[in-house]
Symmetry: C2
Subunit: 403 residues, 2 copies
């Protein structure tokens, strides 16, 4: 009996699980579990006996062999009530999900723990990722743990400390003068020549599933009662897709009841295609034409499946909101004064929450979860190590790589 | 009935618990629990139902009112097997305790969660700490959470990113041209004038108790079977005292059997008074006369109770070992290549482990735990923010603070 297969999020067609992420129709393939089978070994009331990592939900992760699992101690991060912010924002409950306490200091650990474990299942030995920084760092660490060779390309204004992390974990590290999708294009071109798999957002089946564990954890940590609103800083969108999928699976298992939390995407002005798109009547996503926002994980002008993102935000009665660099700086300071080290992305999420509270979209009675995705420290203005080559295009890349 | 009192580690005299840390005889006061009372509510087989923080052991922490507890999600950090290092060092088991996954990115979170909670119990509203960096950062965060005012002084070569953290958490932050004990002297002088309590190492009763939870966790995470060797980077020594105390309490509760793990202190050459002292026949500790080591948490020439440290290392058949800056750099790189971001202190611990394995002190059959206390990122060479004043002595300090 198959424990999981794929189902296409666009055409609904089912197919066996394999190392891919996109249906023939172009839709994103989602992992579809046989929940009856899952229920035979995964029991709600016995979860507390399991490991304090995301692998406590192993039946809901698409790894075929237990021995393939690569773990650095990811997941089961604290969900912290914020009494001061609750008072200031007049909310009955506000939690920060402290994703910076993951290995590699960011939420990206979850996706790559799953992605690298799946690579082991398929005996794949070489990975590449285009990234705004933290994904590259996380892949580098998990690949190091697994003995997988790794190549990462990040924009040349990526926070230098994160570039140092990639180098420290032993990745072949490159900067590009373009944006994340330009890095992605270079790596796609190199697949044949170099034999790597591209583990970029929605390029393989693991990262959504790993991110899904954030949703599973939220439910468990809140005693299987979901919050009213989730505020999440958004780039490629795999976190949103993952959490939405988590809640659907938990509803199907009968572990939680609806309604879904209203999911909010937060982006920075200068690159907010999700916000621009959601305020159009058209259901189709429109990528950002120009990009002028800061170099953070939110700077993704062309998310791979914007349509799916939009449909999730709409289905959950959620929304998307833009915040300015100034609002991010103020929120980062505010979180600091509450004892929380927050990345600009985490601070943006709080800023988005404040905006929506101010305009009444978040209501007096709403119980709200805000995601802090990484540490403040990583974003100090530090130059990338000088030995990391800058590549403009694939031609440059070959010269630098083969060098 | 009293849940806990003090017992002096030197003269053995018992006295009621209060806000102090030193006996009239000069010995360190340790918290002594009524273990019969503890056993009435703390059950070994029900711990898994408790929170995934150090507060799962709340009966073994000296907090009088539950409402005093200040938590940012500290403790219950991963204990990670290191298969590659096991093979290279030919050891049956080697674990890294990933203390960098604590809030504020270091093991210091535990001590200050306890210390600030105790301050709440005693309604103390102003704290000060002399520190090599991470203690100042952790106090700043917990004090921010608790609404306690805080002053920190660190040596002027303290890693600048850690200084940034203190400022971010809202601490009044100062640099000194001296070492940690010089910072301590300034803060002791200011107690009366400014009305703060000094929460420096062994100046109050909480920090040892908070650090103790590292030992409790090790035991629980290893299924109540202790490792043979614990390798720990050592500065002031509260972690060593705490873990040794943890194991004694667990033995007294009947939860584990002896023998104690052999505890190893690791220091850097240029400031290794514990190592120098343990190799003397005399039982008295000798502080370091000159200090030339790197600015890390291990650079503590005058630990407050070196005699107690020595006696613990000897009682457990442990030892102390010096490593060079070069060995630390090599180990940091080695850990990076295993996917672990390690502070110089954590890398020193691995370097110490390697030395003792090479010389046979760590045996073929030993199961070893190495502590990684913080993230590598924090130690990048970054200048402290220019607005943080440098003070040479108490006179300077007054001018800078009041000015």
């Amino acid at each position: 009996m198959e424990r999981f297969r794929f189902i296409c999020s666009r055409c609904g067609k089912s197919e066996p699980f394999s190392y891919k992420a996109v249906c023939d129709c172009g839709g994103t393939l989602l992992v579809d579990y046989d929940l009856e089978l899952v229920s035979q070994t995964l029991f709600q009331n016995q979860l507390s006996l399991r490991s304090s990592t995301m692998w406590r939900y192993r039946e809901l992760l698409p790894i075929q062999h237990q021995s393939s699992i690569v773990s650095l101690g990811e997941g089961w991060t604290p969900l912290l009530r914020m009494p001061t912010l609750e008072k200031e924002l007049q909310l009955p409950a506000l939690w920060i999900k402290r994703e910076e306490q993951n290995p590699t200091g960011s939420f990206k650990a979850r996706g790559f723990a799953a992605a690298v474990s799946i690579m082991n299942d398929f005996q794949l030995k070489k990975a590449a990722v285009p990234s705004n920084g933290n994904a590259a760092s996380a892949l580098s660490a998990y690949a190091a743990r697994a003995g997988i060779e790794v190549v990462v390309i990040v924009p040349k204004d990526c926070p230098g400390i994160i570039v140092e992390e990639c180098v420290r974990y032993g990745a072949k590290t490159f900067l590009t003068s373009g944006l994340i999708h330009d890095a992605g294009a270079i790596l796609e071109q190199g697949k044949q020549r170099y034999g790597w798999v591209n583990v970029g957002t929605l390029k393989e089946p693991g990262r959504i599933e790993g991110k899904k564990t954030m949703g599973l954890e939220l439910a468990e940590q809140l005693g299987w009662k979901l919050p009213d609103v989730i505020v999440y800083p958004t780039g490629g969108g795999s976190g949103i897709i993952g959490m939405w999928k988590a809640f659907n699976e938990l509803i199907a298992l009968g572990w939680i009841c609806g309604p879904m939390p209203r999911i909010v995407s937060v982006q920075e002005s200068g690159c907010d295609p999700i916000v621009q798109s959601i305020h159009q009547n058209d259901s189709r996503f429109i990528p950002a034409a120009n990009t002028s926002s800061s170099p953070t994980g939110m700077r993704v002008p062309h998310p791979p499946d914007g349509d799916l993102l939009l449909s999730i935000l709409r289905q959950t009665n959620g929304t998307a909101v833009t915040v300015t660099a100034q609002e991010i700086a103020v929120s980062q300071k505010r979180l600091g004064r509450c004892g929380i080290s927050s990345s600009p992305e985490g601070a943006a999420a709080l800023a988005g929450c404040i905006r929506l509270r101010d305009n009444g979209w978040i209501r007096d009675t709403d119980r709200v979860v805000v995601f802090n995705t990484s540490h403040a420290d990583k974003y100090i203005h530090w130059a990338a190590p000088p030995e990391v080559p800058i590549v403009q295009d694939y031609h440059d890349f070959i010269a630098a790589y083969d060098g």
